[in-house]
Each structure stands twice: as C-alpha cells, then as structure tokens.
Symmetry: C2
C-alpha cells in the first residue's frame, strides 16, 4: 500500500485532529461524571433523611411519615446511592481515557456498565415518581387517598429528591453517546 | 507506508474476519429486534384490553375495573406501543447493516434512538410495576388498599402484561451493546 507524501501528511493531520477531539470528549466525560455524582448523591441523601411528624397526636397514635413507609422510595435511595458509588469508582477510568485517548476496550466496558446503571437508575426513579404522583393526586377509582394534603413538607421533600436523579439520567445518556462517538472514530 | 506482502495478507485476513463478525452481529441485531417487536406489542395489547366487571352490582354502582382507571398503566400502553412502532421502523436500517457491514454513521444514529427508547420503556414499565405492586400488596401506612383481593383476574392480567416489556428491556441493552461492539472494531 503505497501512499504519496501529501496523502500521508493529510492522514497524520486528521489523526491528530481525531485524537484532540477524543481528548476533549474525555475531559467532558469526566466533568459530566462529577456532576452526576453530586446529583445522585444529593438525591439519595435528601430522600433518605425525609420524615415528618405532624404537630398533633393522640395518646396512642403519633402522625408520622417516613420515606421508608413506602418501599419504592427505599428502592430509590438504594439505587441513587449505588449509582453515585459507581460513578465515583468510574472516575479513574475516565481519567485514564483523558491520558490515553486511543483506549477502546475500557470504553466498551464503561459503555456496558453505564448502560446497566442508566437502566437501574431510570427504573427506580420512575417507580418512585409514580408513587410520589399517587401521594399527591391519589386515585379515586382505586380508593387510594392523596396523603399529601396532610403531610405537606414530607411530600415537598420526596418530590424534590427526585430532581437529582432525573438530572443524572440524561447525563448517563450523554456519557454513553460520547463513548459511542469516540469508538466510531477510527 | 510500505508493507511486506505477508503483512498485507494478514491484514486482509483479519479484515475479512472482522467483516464476517460484523455481518453475524447484524443478523443477530435483526432477530433481536423482531423478538422485541413481538414482546412490546403483546405487552401493549394485553394491557390495553384489560377490564373486569365483578359479577354483582347494585342499582347505581357497577363494580368495574379498567386499565385506564390507573393513569400509569395508560402511560405503559403508550410507551410499549411506541417502542414497538419504533422497532418496526428500525428494521430497514438493521437490514441495511447486514448488507453494508461497514456502515458507521447509521449505527451511531441507531444507538442514540435505541437508548432513548430503552430509557422511556424502562421508565414506563417500572412506574407500571410500582403501581401493580401496590395493587397487589397495598400500603397499610398510607392507607392504600390492595384492590387485587377483589379484582382477581384484572390483576393477573395487568401483572402478566408487564412481562413483555421487561423482556424487551434487556433486548434493547443487547442491541446497544452489539452496535457499540461493532463500532469498536476497526
């Protein structure tokens, strides 16, 4: 395979451009992971520390709501904390990709793990969102009562906690797309 | 860049092997898409046709449960049908990848769309699963009543409908991984 000098130069140029692009994407990957760590961790902590006691009680009953009265919200805390832990562990690999922009195998591994975490985080977050929606609106046909009318600040807190995870989900999608983009360049 | 004849031959061999591998993966991609179409469509139809009337009624009340008494289940039907429609539309691209195994850009497009569908299907399915779980178990602390004790066959049907979508979710994950695998080969 003989190439003319001009061809060789243009090849070399495009390969430098490619590796610059790859490095830029890797840096972006690292930054997105940092943001996602903060978002999922904030979500887990905010949800995990939620409880409310109403300011009145009888001799036998205290009106108290805790996040783990609803098992789905407990799942949400676990999944968010897990995603956050995974993201922290993936940071060294992300740094490796900045220094060695041609790495392919580790990127494929990261795509697989990112996708598993994306799916589990999405599943837990939307299950929690379905329950939070029910807490707000109730369902007249199923006779499910909207308890948010009483537990006002509890409900505000569990709704707010969802935000972090729903920020992390598109970040995960972008992380996977960036890895696929880099892989698609020769 | 001069190469010896032996190098050229080994290069050509490995590129033929690669293109064979890519074609095999593309055929697998097509088959998985077909299975996923059937699974999501079955899910949407099974859920969308679910209703039950209890065999007793008063003058004013008929005891009747329909899937769209629960808004989350309506979302599930829409998302499953949408995923199924998308999968059917993606079949031509999948066929294109079998005949042109070196296509890269269309694979990246397919990865992006697959991921969006994976996320929306996962979100809708797990929200539906959370509600179906509630219908079965109820929640004593929130005073939510497990209506499955009455609407037995209704509950069986909505639980069964989830299966199709939860089969399609790992299929989507595999589709994305296969595309990433092909992209990672030069």
């Amino acid at each position: 395979m003989k190439s003319s000098p001009a061809e060789l130069i243009s090849e070399a140029k495009s390969s430098t451009q490619n590796s610059k692009m790859k490095r830029a994407v890797s840096v972006l990957d690292f930054i997105l992971r940092l943001i996602a760590v903060v978002a999922t961790l904030a979500s887990a902590i905010a949800m995990g520390t939620t409880d409310e006691s109403l300011p009145f009680f009888t001799q036998f009953i205290r009106f108290r709501a805790e996040y783990d009265d609803l098992p789905t919200l407990r799942l949400f805390v676990v999944a968010s904390a897990f995603a956050s832990g995974y993201l922290i562990l993936s940071l060294p690999l992300s740094i490796l990709h900045i220094t060695r922009s041609s790495a392919r195998r580790t990127r494929v591994i990261l795509i697989i793990l990112d996708m598993v975490m994306l799916t589990s985080l999405t599943a837990a977050s939307s299950a929690a969102a379905a329950i939070v929606y029910l807490a707000h609106k109730g369902n007249a046909k199923a006779n499910w009562f909207a308890f948010c009318q009483q537990y006002d600040s509890f409900c505000e807190r569990i709704s707010g906690s969802l935000i972090g995870s729903f920020i992390a989900i598109p970040l995960f999608i972008m992380l996977i797309l960036f890895s696929a983009l880099v892989l698609s360049k020769r």
